[in-house]
Symmetry: C2
Subunit: 750 residues, 2 copies
């Protein structure tokens, strides 16, 4: 745990120059707009340790699958979002010496991420080329013009003599992935140009053997500066416009670079891409930098209008929740239904920029509250559109129906650990459950009765084929699965997975009773199939321990050595850095909630006593070594009345990256876990539930706080809920009147 930035309500700022934290700082100052994004690396280059990552949404590469021994059913490739051609590069020389903060130590250094406006600024002074200059680097990734990234650099001559400046505005295709096998590069250059104030480079992903698409990407940068154009260079793997000029002592120079990026995701030929780049750059060239910034800033204001959370009495918590929403919205705001939310978004290579079940389990519940319903609906459509891939995945396993992938870009599985790929099939249930969540929250039944019914039916077909009937127990079972607690693998009868399987089958049967005849005809679910599903629902085995009256995570769990985690010496934690894998597997320690995840999904279906007993039992074994863990425990703790525990668990997820809790923020941010802090405040502290279409609240105020206030989107309305020491105040900010339930009392809001 290490806090690298100062605390402020709307800014993430540091004035400390600390190269040892550079990767952490780069992660935290990442910017993105769903379509593209980058880490907060230094555009002028940095010869010390850095991860220069620029990523394009939906542009990925099917890399060779690396496994120990092949197993039938493995996917052909491991998909990953590759590091894009670096269009950010701006090489700066002062009196012949290249700016490189690994070589010149800066003073008055400052990084500032403005979360309200979506702007990252970096300023510092530095002795270079025999003089002293002040630099300011500003950048934004436009949330209104998805192709656009703006950079503005100001240079002040703080010395006593003239400074000769040379600046190269570069697009550089000589980039690597850190996770590449044998240092492979992934981009072939198709065209390159450098002409006065423009550079342009068109590249294409390397050919692969897997019949998956190759991507063509065009980039065009325009420079505006008061320096003079010196020359253009078209190098083997890069293009440059070079500018030069002198800044007198006390004077300043300005340099702007605006880059637009268009890809074959949106255009069907290389010429269509370059034509579009030309058109768009002409239009944007007419605008000033501030003119480009204005709509971007306005859009951020509108996002915050719908979603801001205010916390009084805990500035760290205030900053944390805004940072989390800022990075979540940067990663995805539902503008492109072909995109999704990778666990690290555009902030690092890990998890390969792909889609996980995190989206349905942790993100959709938040987007439902903080954005228009279309955002969540687009995420549901993403899966619907990938049904063909899910058929392939099920077929790979020799099973009927659809198995949505653990990791994917196009619906086809692209991950290769058998215990995950083949076995962590609860994901299929989570994807079904998200359909229910959306429908229950929004009241919009158009998805579930059409596309949703199809998704549910195919998932149910998978479940019905994946279960087996145990003659010895006269029950249906799911053997060989891995639950959300990945510290146990390949178990029999994971309670959570069995529960979701049973629930999905029943929900599908319910929905099938309601669909239009033409939908039913298309789905073609036979009476035999329905009978079989009903039989499974009625006879599904769910582990239960009659002594402890709890739900064992899986068969065999109660036979473990049940020593609480509190008895493990602290120098052995986190377990995943200190224990061998087999020791972890046979231990009772829980990486993230499994039974607790089920209690959250079906929070109204269990009694307070049941929830309390299970929480008490599992909490003592849970190490929360997944970033997705603590927030769910916090909600259950709040639900059963463990308020202090709920707050303690909330704190683990609220500032996970800002405080580098898991010592891995350097790799990128935990985008999908960032949702946890919002869920804890809204579902946990405020007790928000939607029951039969009605909003319910049962709030409490964390002891340390003076108040908290959040805005929530619900069925064409914006509500504002404020909880302080005097109680709860709920306002209708916009939309039609509505009756809500506050701690058991009906309240009509107008």
């Amino acid at each position: 745990m290490k806090q690298t930035f100062d605390i402020a309500p709307w800014h993430v700022t540091t004035t400390k120059w600390s190269p040892e934290d550079k990767r952490i700082q780069e992660s935290i100052t990442s910017l993105a707009n769903e379509n593209l994004g980058m880490r907060g690396f230094f555009e002028e280059g940095y010869s010390g340790d850095t991860l220069e990552g620029v990523y394009l949404g939906g542009v990925w590469f099917p890399d060779k699958t690396r496994v120990g021994w092949w197993k039938n059913g493995y996917p052909q490739y491991f998909g990953k979002m590759i590091n894009a051609v670096n269009f950010m590069k701006v090489i700066i020389k002062v009196n012949g010496e290249q700016l490189d903060l690994a070589k010149q130590t800066p003073s008055d250094f400052k990084l500032d991420l403005d979360m309200k406006q979506g702007i990252f600024t970096r300023t510092f002074n530095v002795e270079i080329g025999g003089t002293k200059l002040g630099f300011s680097f500003e950048r934004f990734v436009s949330v209104t013009q998805k192709e656009l990234v703006g950079q503005r650099i100001k240079i002040n001559n703080l010395g006593s003599s003239e400074a000769k400046i040379e600046i190269s505005s570069m697009i550089d295709a000589d980039v690597y992935n850190e996770d590449a096998n044998y240092d492979e590069q992934f981009w072939n250059i198709l065209a390159k140009k450098a002409d006065g104030d423009h550079t342009e480079l068109v590249s294409m992903t390397k050919k692969n053997d897997f019949g998956t698409p190759q991507f063509t990407v065009g980039m065009k940068s325009t420079t505006k500066t008061d320096l003079s154009h010196k020359e253009d260079r078209v190098n083997e793997k890069s293009v440059e416009n070079i500018f030069e000029g002198s800044i007198a002592a006390g004077a300043a120079a300005e340099f702007e670079k605006r880059t637009i990026v268009a890809t074959s995701r949106d255009f069907d030929s290389e010429s269509a891409i370059t034509n579009y780049l030309d058109e768009l750059s002409d239009a944007l060239d007419a605008e000033s930098f501030d003119g480009l910034l204005a709509p971007h800033i306005k859009e951020w204001a509108s996002r915050w209008e719908k979603s801001d959370v205010e916390i009084d009495g805990d500035e760290g918590a205030q900053q944390g929740i805004r940072f989390n929403l800022f990075q979540l919205f940067s990663t995805y705001y539902g503008q492109d239904y072909r995109l999704n939310i990778s666990p690290k978004g555009f902030t690092g290579e890990k998890y390969g920029g792909a889609t996980y079940w995190d989206t349905e389990a942790y993100c959709i519940p938040v987007y439902l509250g903080v954005a228009n319903p279309e955002v969540a609906r687009n995420l549901l459509m993403y899966r619907y559109n990938q049904l063909d891939g899910a058929f392939i995945n099920a077929k790979q396993q020799g099973l009927d129906g659809a198995l949505f992938p653990m990791v994917t870009f196009n619906g086809v599985e692209c991950h290769n650990e058998w215990e995950i790929t083949f076995e962590e099939i609860h994901r299929n249930g989570d994807i079904a459950y998200a359909i229910y969540l959306y429908t229950n929250y929004t009241g919009d039944r158009s998805y579930v009765l059409h596309e949703g019914a199809e998704v549910l039916t195919e998932i149910s077909r998978f479940w019905a084929d994946r279960v087996h009937y145990s003659q010895s127990k006269n029950k249906y079972m799911l053997h060989a699965v891995t639950g959300p607690d990945e510290y146990d693998n390949n178990v029999n009868n994971d309670w959570y997975t069995n529960l979701l399987c049973r629930w999905t089958l029943q929900y599908t049967l319910d929905i099938l009773d309601q669909v239009d005849p033409e939908v039913a005809k298309k789905l073609n679910v036979t009476e035999d199939e329905k009978r079989k599903w009903k039989g499974i629902v009625d006879n599904m085995y769910l582990p239960y321990d009659p002594d402890k009256k709890i739900f064992p995570e899986n068969d065999g769990f109660m036979d473990k050595d049940l020593t609480p985690v509190s008895e493990i010496p602290s120098d052995q934690l986190p377990l995943n850095q200190h224990w061998s894998w087999d020791k972890i597997l046979r231990s009772p320690y829980v990486k993230q909630g499994d039974v607790i995840q089920g209690l959250w999904d079906f929070i109204d279906d269990f009694s307070k006593e049941e929830k309390k007993r299970n929480f008490d039992f599992y909490e003592q074994f849970t190490v929360h070594e997944s970033s997705l863990s603590a927030s769910v425990y916090s909600i259950i703790a709040a639900d059963v009345g463990y308020e202090d525990k709920a707050v303690e668990l909330y704190e683990r997820s609220a500032r996970l990256d800002l405080d580098n809790y898991n010592n891995d923020t350097a790799d990128g941010l935990h985008i999908t876990s960032m949702t946890g802090s919002w869920l804890d405040i809204v579902q946990g502290f405020a007790g928000m539930r939607v029951r039969n279409g009605e909003l319910h609240y049962a709030p409490f105020l964390p002891k340390k706080w003076n108040s908290y206030k959040f805005r929530q989107n619900f069925r064409d309305r914006i509500l504002e809920v404020k909880v302080d020491k005097n109680g709860t105040d709920i306002k209708l900010i916009s939309g039609d009147p509505i009756t809500i339930d506050l701690a058991g009392k009906k309240l009509e809001l107008k």
Copy 2:
């Protein structure tokens, strides 16, 4: 299943030219002498599909470990025996046209492996260079001079005009492993020479990052021929002596190549290697080819003298058992205690030439019967000498004591599937059990009371730390293990593993009571430790099903869908080629005996009824998709009186490779499984057991056979057991008189 060779008692012969079976033929005609060996590839080169493999015992490379996602405790590298510099190469040109049977189709083609003498001969006629020639290629890998390989080529001009011949005797370092990552090559050349009738090449394995040894290998070939020396070539990666001459119509030419190989395993410097090569080649050059062959042939005769098995009435079975013993002895005959028996020996790349638990479980019981006790003792010493590696493996898992590796060259684990590496720990018990086997069979207690006591103690320390106490069942358990049946992974309480764990602890306690004080002092087993071990022995959990009165393979096994394998459509077999891994895992199908393996180890500890019930139960689910499986089932079938079943199961392993049962002989031979046919005849059909130092037999004669006869080494004696329709005749061939038990009757042999 496909029989590619003719049946004959002492020969494996074919006269069919079938390029589509070439790899199978190469595997089957492999030759080796424990120190080095090669597949029966064509030395003149073959531009069609071939696997040119030459391998050196104990020379290996630690390749990069390829895994999906890293797990704590994984080894640093994946070890493999690399394809050696190819010293067999002899390029032949006739009137300028190169001999290459992928291009010229041969007639009168014949491959002949003479198992009695250890000679592989290949003859054919071919139209080439406008004429017709007859070729004979003969080779042997000397079992008396471990460095020596001899090749003899005879060329007869069958045409009507003179044939101009050019022959290059080559040592070629431009070799690949088929399993290499990204086509890496592993050999760097240190020195090369070609001088008249000698070529010499010294090479060294590539540098690796793992602190494991690099190997230096020197090779020197000498040519004797009636052709004239033309020139020498020293190429970038090879060296050649080139000879030329003309063969008149009806005349013949001869060409001999003898190669010696010395490595840094035996010499500590490059100069020591080359000096030895010079000395040895001088000595061998004085000998004729037949002079070199003579002691080799004599040694094979002596091996057969001790071990031959004769079967009357089933020529296929006769050929099968001899082939199995021939290839087993070629792979290992106990001459070098630093070497071991890789599952594919010197016949292919798969299994990487490394040591597996196959050695202890399947090979030691055979060597005890067919060779001097030193052979088995050397195999025990191999493990003792690798104790340091076993300490490292246990420590990698955070555990006490010694964990012998699943796959190794030097004692350190070099395999990287977590479910195997971390979990298939029964191997530790098998290695302990082999100590008992050796001691019980030979009566020699010198190993078990010294080195063996140390091995047993450290294995017991591992077990005692690996078990956990289950508070819910009040029993010691082993969770997260994989048994010999690798079609179930990461299970709890594998009956076989738990049984071996308990047995090892008790056996170790027994042995510790008998060791000398200075041994006890060195081992330093405290009374606390002994108490703990005793506690585990007394309270070890062993799965038992009271309904079916059988031992469930593991917890959860009885909950599976227990549909017999006979109900699986035959086009889905073998499962490992048709079913996804997860489907296999959750099925009840058994790859190789797990409970049955335990019944074999402790065959006298269970009643006939117990064995029968378990055999009946498991046989219906067993698919025998490991080559190690059927032979053990055969022994248990014989033991419980299922004679026909025993014979049927025997047949699956007796001609496994000759008939390409598993459709994978092309990859190499199943060396360690070849032991199965001997075990089935001796332990199964003849019912041989050693009880309290006494030999017991309870033979039956397979219905199809007229008789079988085998020789067996037992405590300084050679016995011959003959079973025919009139009964059993047991003779003492050499050694002191001995009393044996034949079907319950004591018999004194003189």
